[in-house]
């Protein structure tokens, strides 16, 4: 028994946590094994684990590149709709993968998944309440018409009661927003807001200038009423369905078109531990580089799994590590990781060959031919795997007690 304990203790030092736990668990359940047999199982596990580890000098980057690249050739080139919902377009498949790896500052279809806190997540009404606080609402969205006459100071804005209701905006909110513009004084009459343009905002002569009036109209249309910048559309979705005590309990969440993580996390009713965005730069800025690393891994794995590709997560983790290595998000391309290689030949081998060589020559760069790419170009064995080891014989000359012939 003691020897089993000793080898288990040794195994704990060597094996990763999850593997060790699994081993411990399975041993507990294997009652028909003698302690001696169990010990052999432990020893064998450790041996196999050590055997399966990456060897020093193994070109893990190349293996990762091939492991993602080959299945990538089978990916679709189309943009699909969001799974189950036809409301939003979401970039998936190869275009999305390229977006992540190229470290695009904004995804072409920014999306947020907003989870709600304990109080708001179980009722569709309360979820809608939060969604209203988040959705960016301008005057344009809640009005039905805007009228003005050349030469007259009055602008009539007719509100749309249905839209006001839908967005959770009161006519007074709109009135206050219009009064806050400094364009003049506005009064509310039923569903119509009359705005009297002031002399200061619009001098008499521009009253006959159609361009100036059009500008004022545009300003009013884009007038901010409520919500968070960047969130153009929201939609309520069922995140989870459970049966508790014979009753169906639905958990609601909000999906948005557009993204603004920093501000949405501050909104009351939002679960700040689970809410995410597909804009990885935003995650880096709000939650830090390690969160960005996790987000990259999740996003890439999601894209690959959606396309039905089975790529080991370790390759993706390596890619995420390389992207976030410098503390910021670098693309895997000529403007990022590949362009920062110390060797001019390695850079030239990637993209814009002539340019790279010109620049290197102008800067008087030296080529030490130590990397893999340069070695292959020069026809040398790359320093990878067994190529790392160089046998050398030391020949001592003269001196005391040399091994050479005297």
């Amino acid at each position: 028994m003691t020897s089993l304990k000793v080898s288990l203790k040794a195994a704990k030092e060597i094996l990763p946590e999850s593997l060790y736990k699994e081993l411990e668990e399975k041993l507990k359940r294997a009652e028909d094994l003698t302690p001696a047999q169990k010990q052999r199982v432990v020893e064998e596990t450790v041996r196999r684990y050590i055997e399966s580890m990456v060897e020093p000098g193994e070109p893990v980057g190349t293996v990762a590149a091939q492991s993602i690249g080959e299945p990538g050739t089978q990916m679709t080139l189309r943009t699909f709709h969001y799974a189950g919902l036809m409301e939003f377009d979401v970039t998936l498949g190869l275009p999305r993968l390229i977006e992540i790896v190229d470290a695009k500052r904004e995804p072409s279809t920014p999306i947020m998944e907003i989870y709600l806190d304990e109080e708001h997540r179980y009722s569709e009404e309360k979820a809608k309440e939060v969604a209203r606080k988040i959705e960016y609402t301008t005057l344009e969205k809640v009005m039905s018409s805007i009228e003005y006459m050349i030469g007259e100071r009055e602008v009539r804005v007719t509100l749309d009661p249905e839209m006001l209701e839908d967005k959770g905006v009161s006519p007074e909110d709109v009135l206050n927003a219009i009064n806050g513009t400094g364009l003049g004084r506005a009064v509310l009459e039923g569903n119509v807001i009359r705005l009297e343009l002031s002399e200061k905002a619009v001098p008499d002569e521009s009253l006959y200038d159609l361009k100036a009036l059009k500008e004022i109209e545009a300003k009013l249309r884009k007038l901010y009423i409520k919500g968070k910048k960047g969130i153009n559309r929201t939609s309520i979705r069922v995140a989870d369905e459970k049966v508790v005590d014979g009753k169906v309990v639905r958990e609601y969440m909000i999906i948005t078109e557009g993204s603004n993580l920093a501000e949405v996390l501050e909104v009351e009713g939002v679960d700040h531990t689970r809410t995410t965005t597909n804009n990885i730069f935003e995650i880096m800025e709000v939650l830090g580089i390690e969160a960005a690393r996790n987000a990259i891994i999740e996003e890439i794995m999601n894209v690959l799994e959606d396309s039905g590709l089975d790529v080991d997560i370790r390759h993706v983790m390596l890619v995420a590590d390389v992207i976030t290595w410098s503390g910021t998000i670098r693309q895997i391309g000529r403007l990022g990781v590949a362009g920062e290689k110390p060797s001019a030949l390695a850079r030239a081998a990637f993209e814009v060959t002539v340019h790279q060589l010109y620049d290197a020559a102008a800067a008087g760069e030296e080529e030490s031919l130590r990397g893999v790419t340069e070695s292959i170009i020069a026809g040398l064995p790359p320093r990878v795997g067994t190529g790392q080891v160089v046998a050398s014989v030391e020949i001592r000359r003269g001196g005391n007690g040399g091994s050479g012939p005297s």
Binding site: L19, L265, T273, V286, I313, R314, S326
Partner: protein
């Protein structure tokens, strides 16, 4: 660089692993055990929201307890650097 300090609640986010600032002695121990020089570690910016919450300065080593999908938890290290973001 916004001067406003990030709120502590970002630490509770699902994507944020546990960060810890190492003392100089601990950092030296890490360098020895890994056989690396400080500049060989992955980097983290002083402007990183988590680093600002930890009040870490350039040169400090941050220990990150990652919840790894393959190995339970694993420890990773980053060194705090002061860099201006490249265009």
């Amino acid at each position: 660089m916004s001067a406003k300090k990030p709120g502590r609640k970002i630490l509770e986010h699902r994507l944020v692993p546990e960060h810890r600032k190492l003392s100089v002695e601990e950092a030296v121990k890490v360098f020895k055990s890994l056989g690396v020089k400080p500049w060989q570690l992955p980097q983290i910016s002083v402007n990183d929201p988590i680093v600002r919450l930890l009040n870490a300065k350039p040169g400090d080593v941050i220990e990150i307890k990652r919840r790894s999908p393959t190995g339970g938890t694993s420890l990773a290290y980053r060194i705090v650097v002061a860099f201006e973001r490249r265009a």
